[in-house]
């Protein structure tokens, strides 16, 4: 199964009620898969007229308390930013998949990680965050999907799965989790008593992001920020490999982490102590893990398929305690084990060189 299909099936198993999407490469397998499977499951599938419409259809379904998702790729996700800001403002849960491609503009259809800033720093207007996951294998796509829905519901927040063209297209054996209902019970998700279900026998429910009274939006923002602090505290996830004794720590996510881990292994075989921190949640970012690792003064090497976006968050987490260097390729260029190894060897011979 390719990554795109694994995400789709995992979402269905996680209790997805409705999928809305518009064609764009390299994520078309999600939409095509959903068109078949959602019909089989007698659930909702709509091919929308635009990404603007798709995200607003998600908004509509989510406002009634249903589990809804969309998927797209970079230019389409840009179009959705208006809707994502409204979802964040109205505190509606949903899942948005971005199978990133090269940009800016129409860019190309090659894999990229150029949408990191857009995903973790808000993306649309206003002060907000989405929970952002950066899975690095087809299996992890499938494993994270039910979690993304659960956390979205738990915190009433949009969750983004930030994938790339390689992971989306790559085929691997995968076990789709089917116990997501158990998971949901374990989490004790709150009842969606805010949802629009018709005001039969109760007071009117209103889903809104407009607060005109003096100071009301300011307060709404403080409330959102309090929620974000809770999420930072409870939901930050990362994977640490060979970090304890490392002289060099690679920080990478998604497909880059997958490639970087091979470089770590080969460097270790050459006697170079390299480790890897792989953020699984990109927001909330694993600041504490990186900060703690920085206390032992390794050199941090950030590897991304961009010109250095997550790099800024690593620098903030390291807070000047130790050097942070970067290697990456933008616009569809793919990082390789050899190049990362070369970079590592360069740091060993000349550790001060940035």
């Amino acid at each position: 199964m390719c990554g795109n299909e694994a995400m789709a099936e995992a979402a269905i198993q996680a209790g997805l009620d409705a999928y809305f999407g518009y064609p764009i490469t390299p994520q078309n397998e999600v939409t095509a898969y959903m068109s078949q499977r959602m019909a089989e499951e007698k659930r909702v599938f709509v091919q929308s007229e635009s990404e603007l419409a798709a995200i607003n259809m998600v908004f509509g379904a989510a406002a009634t308390g249903k589990r809804a998702m969309t998927s797209s790729s970079s230019p389409g996700i840009s179009l959705m930013q208006e809707g994502i800001s409204y979802l964040a403002g109205a505190e509606l849960p949903c899942v948005i998949v971005n199978v990133m491609r090269g940009g800016p503009g129409l860019g190309n259809i090659a894999p990229s990680q150029g949408d990191y800033f857009q995903s973790v720093k808000g993306g649309g207007h206003g002060d907000y965050h989405c929970i952002v996951f950066g899975p690095s294998s087809v299996q992890e796509f499938a494993d994270i999907m039910p979690l993304a829905f659960d956390l979205a519901d738990k915190y009433r927040i949009p969750a983004i799965i930030l994938a790339d063209g390689i992971l989306g297209q790559m085929m691997e054996p995968v076990v789709i989790p089917t116990n997501s209902k158990l998971n949901t019970q374990k989490l004790k998700l709150p009842k969606k008593d805010w949802a629009l279900t018709g005001a039969e026998g109760r007071k009117q429910n209103i889903v809104r992001s407009l607060w005109l009274a003096d100071g009301a939006v300011e307060q709404h923002n403080y409330d959102l920020q309090a929620k974000y602090r809770q999420i930072e505290k409870n939901e930050t996830r990362c994977e640490q490999t060979d970090v304890d004794d490392a002289d060099i720590i690679i920080v990478a996510y998604g497909i880059c982490a997958r490639i970087a881990k091979h470089a770590v292994q080969q460097a270790r075989e050459q006697g170079i102590k390299v480790g890897c921190i792989r953020p699984i949640t990109l927001w909330p970012f694993p600041i504490e893990a990186i900060s703690k690792a920085a206390d032992k003064s390794p050199i941090f090497l950030v590897v991304e398929m961009s010109c250095g976006q997550m790099l800024e968050d690593v620098r903030l987490a390291v807070a000047g305690k130790t050097p942070v260097v970067f290697w990456g390729r933008p616009g569809g260029g793919i990082v390789t084990v050899e190049k990362i190894l070369e970079k590592i060897q360069g740091l060993v011979t000349n550790p001060k060189k940035k």
């Binding site: 603007l52 419409a53 406002a63 809707g83 005001a199």
Partner: protein, 245 residues
């Protein structure tokens, strides 16, 4: 014993609105509320407020409501109705919302034959933002962005969205009414009721009622003159009556 023969509809909240004197929104809200009451759908109706003067419609209409991005109501409504076929979903949209920024969404909701009821308020101007030109602004009409009056050359012609929608197979009912006299208002109510009934009866397609609505403030007229302006001038460009269904 005195008998109460006329009262506020249950679905209309007992509060003053923020609308200008002579504005048509108050009438339109009341008609929607009366229809919801009479059809007995209060408990299963979900309404969508637009961006525009009616953004706070949920402060006046006592049903479950959502406020959505400018123009996107038909897409939001699609998401709601598809996942809740047993609910009655309506959007309430102005001409800036539906005829300018949301043209794609309304055309495609109709094109997909979504089972929705659309209340389209056409007052030929952007009210909320200070009286700018709308796609429906009349030729020669002075607005904040057509200080010399709208000219076809450069500013285009009034856009007849209802006529555009009526040719789509998925739009099963399209009618234009005027909120410009008691008789017209009674017709408007009947049209709204029919549009909601279609959805209640699971008719396969979209129903839209366009209401030509007075905006005395930005038309720079008295409320009675605004009513007459609809009857005498606007109906020449936006003819009243059933376009489809």
């Amino acid at each position: 014993m005195m008998q109460k023969v006329f009262t506020r509809p249950k679905t209309l909240k007992d509060c003053p609105t923020h609308y200008c004197p002579g504005c048509g929104h108050g009438i339109a809200h009341r008609l929607v509320a009366e229809v919801i009451d009479e059809l007995g759908i209060h408990g299963k109706t979900i309404g969508i407020a637009p961006v525009g003067c009616a953004v706070l419609a949920y402060d006046y209409l006592d049903v479950d409501m959502v406020e959505v991005a400018h123009g996107r109501a038909p897409a939001v409504a699609t998401g709601m109705k598809r996942t809740n076929p047993d609910k009655i979903v309506f959007s309430y949209q102005g001409d800036g919302d539906l005829a300018a920024i949301g043209t794609a969404e309304i055309i495609h909701a109709a094109h997909r034959a979504e089972q929705l009821t659309i209340v389209f308020i056409n007052n030929a101007v952007f009210g909320m933002t200070g009286g700018q030109m709308a796609p429906t602004t009349m030729l020669g009409q002075i607005t904040a962005t057509t200080p010399q009056g709208r000219q076809a050359d450069g500013q285009g012609y009034p856009l007849n969205v209802s006529e555009l929608l009526a040719v789509l197979p998925g739009a099963i009912y399209v009618e234009r009414c005027g909120l410009c006299s008691p008789a017209h208002i009674r017709k408007a109510k009947a049209a709204l009721k029919h549009a909601f009934e279609l959805q209640i009866n699971n008719a396969k397609g979209l129903g839209l009622v366009e209401l030509i609505s007075p905006c005395p403030t930005y038309w720079r007229m008295t409320p009675p003159d605004a009513m007459l302006h609809i009857q005498n001038e606007m109906t020449k460009v936006f003819p009243l009556g059933k376009l489809k269904g």
